[in-house]
Subunit: 311 residues, 2 copies
Amino acid sequence: MAVIDRFFEGDRRALAKIISHIENRAESYRQVLARLYPKTGRTYKLGFTGPPGAGKSSLVDSVADVYLKAGEKVGIVAVDPSSPFTGGALLGDRIRMAHLSNQENAFIRSMATRGSGGGLAISTKDVCIALDAFGFDKNLIETVGVGQVELDIVNAADTVVVVLVPESGDTIQAMKAGLMEIADIFCVNKSDREGSDRLAAELVMMLDVKRHDSDWEYPVVQTSATKNTGIDILIEKIQAHRDYLKSSGKFEERRRRQVKTEIYRHLEERMLEEVHNRIGDLKLEEIIDEISSGASDPFTKATEIFEKYFR
Amino acid sequence: MAVIDRFFEGDRRALAKIISHIENRAESYRQVLARLYPKTGRTYKLGFTGPPGAGKSSLVDSVADVYLKAGEKVGIVAVDPSSPFTGGALLGDRIRMAHLSNQENAFIRSMATRGSGGGLAISTKDVCIALDAFGFDKNLIETVGVGQVELDIVNAADTVVVVLVPESGDTIQAMKAGLMEIADIFCVNKSDREGSDRLAAELVMMLDVKRHDSDWEYPVVQTSATKNTGIDILIEKIQAHRDYLKSSGKFEERRRRQVKTEIYRHLEERMLEEVHNRIGDLKLEEIIDEISSGASDPFTKATEIFEKYFR
């Protein structure tokens, strides 16, 4: 396959092609992934998440700029659920992509939701594998939203930065959204706005408990992506977390957990494919008729299908 | 099983027990679900979702109060990711539950995230099945957050209300969060605050496109749950949507889609269980070692496991 050879020679157009290939689950994409995988492991993965409107995109761009200026290769994956109204990436992302794409060492990919629950998380991780195999130094993964699938995506990162803003409401909302659980670093963005100091202080207080259970002193950094303040401190803390992971053996642990997740998710995908192939749409409609008429139920039917095809 | 008989006699403590049983995936929970299922289908399911801080809980309580006053039985399922700091439901929910639990015809269940992606969606749907079988007229399902799993949960509802607030930022953020796609009714809550009219007007404008593709005229309702304004109009619009679904045949369609999802999710769960049972933790660690050493990759290994156990 010529395109994969060009990929390994560092051809960016080949990278884009490979990513589309994987994303679309095109023919033999698993073989492609299997060829890429042995080249992975070198890229440091940074996850950025937080509530909508927290300014994650600007922050990610600022962080990327610092790495780029230091001569590093930076890949950005922005998970950005598309709307039926726009049919794709939103205007802001197009502008942003135009800016970053002009830089030789930067690559940005916007991932749109396809309506299915697990699908997004799966293809996002595969795209990260491609970026890793291509040889990026840093992979910044940005997810809008605070949902479970989105958390799963950033959880596959080595360091997770949770981005909050003063007006994102009281900290209890952040707790509710499950963000505290996955954060390695907290970032109060738009810190020039009122309430920034208060939010930072609240976070520091709340983190007291979490700090007791860990050797890692969860930092709270105040940034303003648009005014470019605090970014250097954020970069320092990211580096400190990386050092902590490596020296404590937790880096190895996280990577092993990532491998485990990889195995399971591909297994799951294979099995669901198999179900679709074996049952077929017509047969499924019959089963739904049977259940709708009250003659059976989904649990009994699922068990029947399972016993028939997978035992 | 005595508890299930008491359940069918309308014993609320039996309901709580059955729900815990299902939620914990306790022994033979599938048989329990299979016994409940034939009694389901009568409850009208209302999903409420939107960004954190939109006041969904208060709104759901206000809507529930109206139905309760009309003599209906109302079940509420609040999906509320718990934090490691609190270890369970937050204080606000306890207060709320105390208030509603005193009402004979009301039942509220707070569901906490258990860290796994699909698990929450699965057990939430099962709890809704129990409520349906128990004979509630309305089931209000409330999810905090805007993630894909959360959207999947409310998508299983008959009518989906998306709740926004003036300060939840520009509407583009709502679009980004994928909320537009699943909404049947839009609700601008906290409408006494500045910017409410503007947000409502923006939504109406944006909905123009969506309205062209559908017979349903997506309403935008302004409410204030705390001041109890607009709730009656919201209730009217919910009724109108229900009438629309029933008269257009779309109700049947949605319910069939729900059954299909049910079959798949239980099948998926069965298959993953089977994988865990057959591979075992020790064997999995060996596989991870092999991959970590570079001797294999997750895709090849997933295929091997699949071929060995499921073909």
